[in-house]
Symmetry: C2
Subunit: 334 residues, 2 copies
């Protein structure tokens, strides 16, 4: 198997330059990088994690911790992160806590030891032992989607509050007055920001918001199903519902279907986070799309920059977009 | 932080028993395991990967290699695997090659060094250098869904051929004679098995199969979209299509929608692999559901048994089920 010396010889550069070029460091010109990459590809050169760790004192693995890999949002973040990492000859592994803070803490602890060169994380844990485990990681840390209390690290996110305020405003513009939200856990800052946008839209419309129209703490399809059942059972059920994420939306749609109601005739639905099947659902679902793949790329980029020596890069805020389909209609529409 | 001695003391057993109990070994009684787990939970004891590797010479990480984590089938396999692994105090990391054999080979090579205690893999690579990298892994290996040529390791799969033969038979029972299949790459044995089941259904019906009704090599939504466009452009397009996986189905449905055609009025659709949104699509999609979560649990189980000393456990074949919804109808149905 070819070694770094063979690559250096073929490319006509030093082994140090090969290392820096394959790590995509700014000190190497694009021409040299191209030359080194071509030589590495031709010689089938793969720096192993072990070899890299031995020679450079660090691993070539980046980690991504997600709460729920079944949610395609995180799967797309993972894909973007892996693609960007591969460009700099890093590889990615994903760990999913299945929304279980205890498992998440164990994962962080168990990978504490230098297995990972850096870590990008969307976390569900909020207690102190967790945050200290997270900040005690050896390599750089990047947060994705939300910032747990007390953790300072660059964050990649979208402007949750603003896009929610504008999108939920459409319900009121159509004449809805009974608008509900299925929200996430109170200690998720994304849920808080989306809820804050939701409250601002109510304020913009000059309407009072009933407490019973906000359902907290729901995650996944089962959470969406339960919350929508509760909403439909209210003495005065809402005519429009904003769902705080995609899987919650799927559960909510199942509850509406089971109750024999129609979207948007009986109830309008707006989802946060798009899904590739939303355009094919009956009716196609209007959704706020986050650029998940780009968020993953940005997270890898922030890690690579820190691995390259940059201190505390700034947060990255990417735009989310409302994709209008057919799940919103004026109340009483048929 | 509590150590293994503290757990042993609280549970009233030896440290060796703690280790064996937390690894879920058969030599420890269920009562002792429960006692040890309770003590570990009470003391908040987490054996770190490093500590475990040091004390036992091996890691507590199991790896799952998948071709495409955006496909919810693999995400559910990952969830099942992580849940089963957690019961034995192992953690899981997932690596996705994004259907790129080169990246897959690099991932295998880069994790070659004992980072992982064991590896479960659904692979896309088929060449020799890849299979030798895979079989050169240090810990036990388990295959999920398909077996690359030349690799001997226990496999977790469903009975692809049988369930496909029966399900595709429904098209013929309804009176279809022009039935097509969007298949995967020729060197995927799952694609081969499903194609074989498809051919058998044709044979059962006593009908000739036109070559143009089999589209090879398509993966992902883009592949399904392209293949369905080709099928619709044939001089004699099919009236029913079997899609070899879920994402291919999503792409095929997009092509049908774009062409202004209706399912099942103009064309019937049968999917391999279910999705949680399939019941909500217009129309709800009939699908062959694999028990993805259970397959992940079985894969972890096979790894744990090998880590516990068992030599070459047998393959695990789990049943797949046809879930009848509304995307099949007789030809010319409206």
């Amino acid at each position: 198997m070819a070694g770094i010396r063979d690559v250096a010889k073929l490319a006509g550069v030093s082994t140090a330059t090969v290392t820096r070029a394959l790590r995509d460091e700014a000190s190497v010109t694009p021409e040299t990088k191209a030359k080194v990459r071509a030589a590495a590809a031709r010689l089938d050169y793969v720096p192993s994690a072990a070899a890299r760790a031995l020679s450079q004192g660090r691993s070539s693995l980046l980690g991504l911790f997600v709460p729920d890999i079944v949610n395609p949002f995180y799967a797309e973040v993972a894909q973007g992160m892996a693609d960007r990492a591969a460009e700099a000859n890093y590889h990615c592994v994903i760990a999913s806590s299945h929304l279980n803070p205890e498992r998440e803490r164990q994962l962080v602890t168990s990978l504490h030891d230098g297995t990972l060169a850096g870590l990008a994380a969307t976390t569900v844990g909020t207690d102190e032992s967790f945050t200290s485990a997270l900040t005690g990681q050896r390599g750089p840390l990047v947060l994705v989607d939300r910032r747990p209390r007390g953790i300072r690290a660059p964050l990649v996110r979208t402007d949750n509050r603003k896009v929610t305020r504008e999108a939920v405003g459409q319900f009121f513009a159509m004449g809805h007055t009974k608008v509900a939200m299925i929200s996430g856990p109170r200690d998720f800052d994304t849920a808080c920001q989306r809820l804050s946008g939701f409250r601002l839209a109510y304020k913009d419309a000059g309407l009072p918001l009933r407490d019973e129209y906000i359902r907290h703490g729901h995650l996944g399809e089962a959470g969406g199903l339960a919350a929508m059942r509760e909403l439909l059972a209210l003495p005065s059920p809402p005519t429009a519902v904003f769902c705080f994420n995609n899987l919650v939306t799927v559960g909510a749609l199942m509850a509406i279907r089971t109750a024999g109601l129609k979207v948007p005739g009986d109830i309008s639905i707006l989802a946060f986070d798009d899904m590739s099947l939303f355009p094919l659902v009956d009716p196609p679902i209007t959704a706020i799309a986050q650029p998940a793949y780009q968020m993953g790329r940005a997270a890898a980029d922030l890690l690579l920059r820190q691995l390259g020596g940059e201190k505390s890069p700034a947060d990255v805020v990417l735009p989310a977009t409302l994709i209008e389909r057919e799940s919103l209609a004026p109340p009483g529409f048929n």
